[in-house]
Symmetry: C2
Amino acid sequence: MAFTLSPPLPHLLPPKTSRAGPSLFLCQPSSSSRMGQQPRAGSKLMEFPHLLDPHRDTMLSLISAVESRLGSHLLPSSVPPDVEYYQNESGTSQGTLCVRCGIDSSPVDFILASWLHLEQPTGGGALDITNIAGYLKSSTDVPHFQFELVQCSPTYFILFLDLIPRRDTVRHPDYLKTFYEDTQLEARRKRLVQLPEVQPYFSSSLYFRGVVSPTGILVSIKCEEGGRERVEEIIREHIGPISNEVAGIWMDMCVGEGGGEVREAERAELEKRDSFIKSKAIEMDLSSSLPKQFGQEVADRVLRVIKSVYKT
Amino acid sequence: MAFTLSPPLPHLLPPKTSRAGPSLFLCQPSSSSRMGQQPRAGSKLMEFPHLLDPHRDTMLSLISAVESRLGSHLLPSSVPPDVEYYQNESGTSQGTLCVRCGIDSSPVDFILASWLHLEQPTGGGALDITNIAGYLKSSTDVPHFQFELVQCSPTYFILFLDLIPRRDTVRHPDYLKTFYEDTQLEARRKRLVQLPEVQPYFSSSLYFRGVVSPTGILVSIKCEEGGRERVEEIIREHIGPISNEVAGIWMDMCVGEGGGEVREAERAELEKRDSFIKSKAIEMDLSSSLPKQFGQEVADRVLRVIKSVYKT
């Protein structure tokens, strides 16, 4: 989803944090402009500083899976270096952005990855947000992919993992059956929410709630008792594997045989719906939060790239 | 919503209960066929047997509010007596159904109310389900109203309280703003879910999850510690007042000035979406569960009435 993808979403963060000025981040294109390769010397990409090990490992594993499965579908990243990595004036908040567009013959529109480290102005520590999203073209109605993991404190995380519907599921029960029921996505959600530390999370944005699929995983993970060790265990043993499974299901849909093809006449409708999601994401998450966190000049630079990718 | 309205929904009930054979119930038309008047001698309508006092009071209060605000919009009930009240062969399970259709000039399509007492064949006690729903015509795009309160055990309830969107909120953010944001529905949801006994509830039906609005209240209430007394308190102090507020907001929309009018050209789309919701409700909740609970003959009789009201 637009929102949560690129600039990490105020609407996903707890009200207090979000007011403090969340924003945008995306991670790691390398200098060779291929995810998964070594970053150029001095670049911050693929480093994932500030993260707990299992959080970093989850990102690296997802990027590696996307690279290996969809790499032949993707062009090199065309994000300019000063948007690949950017920071605020004092250098306390940092962001990265990698976007690789699909080649003409691919159903992939673009894959976006990022990390963002946001020092909270109120002295409330830092937020660390990581994000991988896959948007598809209107030649297919396969859902978009979204993974976002936010570290709000050493023992408090928010996870958004979903295949974002491209159609109104009320009007298209067959869509629900193909992409959500037959793929057993609910079983993955259930595995995660059965953990006592995991609770449903309600975004402050009503719009965003409507964007999430019926099997969307939108949860908070609070480990006050087990502490950092338990958080690491949950990410390593549960969030990592489940995220990889969902990403695998999504990539099977994208590049697998059959299903998802959209007739020419229906593409405009799909594009229209997608464009609402993207515009709202930028309006809600980026337009106000990026300038607050990084200053207007950096924000303008980053927003320009994101808007060109989102085609909004 | 169709589903939850009339026959109370298997998909809303915990998996075990639902398998035991849920079903349909609707309450109280009186012999004079007006909700809110005294039932005819011998009729079970408006009696709400089996319910805790605050549960009964909540239903009576909602019915009274609908009657007083929308009464002039409604025709008398035309439900035949053997569907107004019905039971299984042994008399252990009982159901009622009241439906009042809107007059020609009203935006109200119909108001449906019911209660259902379902003896569980497994000896697991009884389910008591009460339901009030308001469906509107396609001349307006004001959401439908749905209240459903299910007593699964003396200390375990499920509540579904919502204004069901008539449009895809992703495609229509203005719809979301008018009917969900400006009306402060989220504040009502939050008031309820802040109680420690109240938890988000996930329907087993993915389709149903997509039908619920972003501010929809779909929760379980478990009072293992406080027992029946605490359940009664929660219904009396919280569920009752919040349900009345949401119903009030909905009725303001229905019969208030401005907003919600739909151009002729758009009505077919609205009708199409509504028809999916209704068909799915009957398919999911009634077609299999009613015969199990009441036998084929009674089920056919009740289903015939519901299908004619739903126009499916």
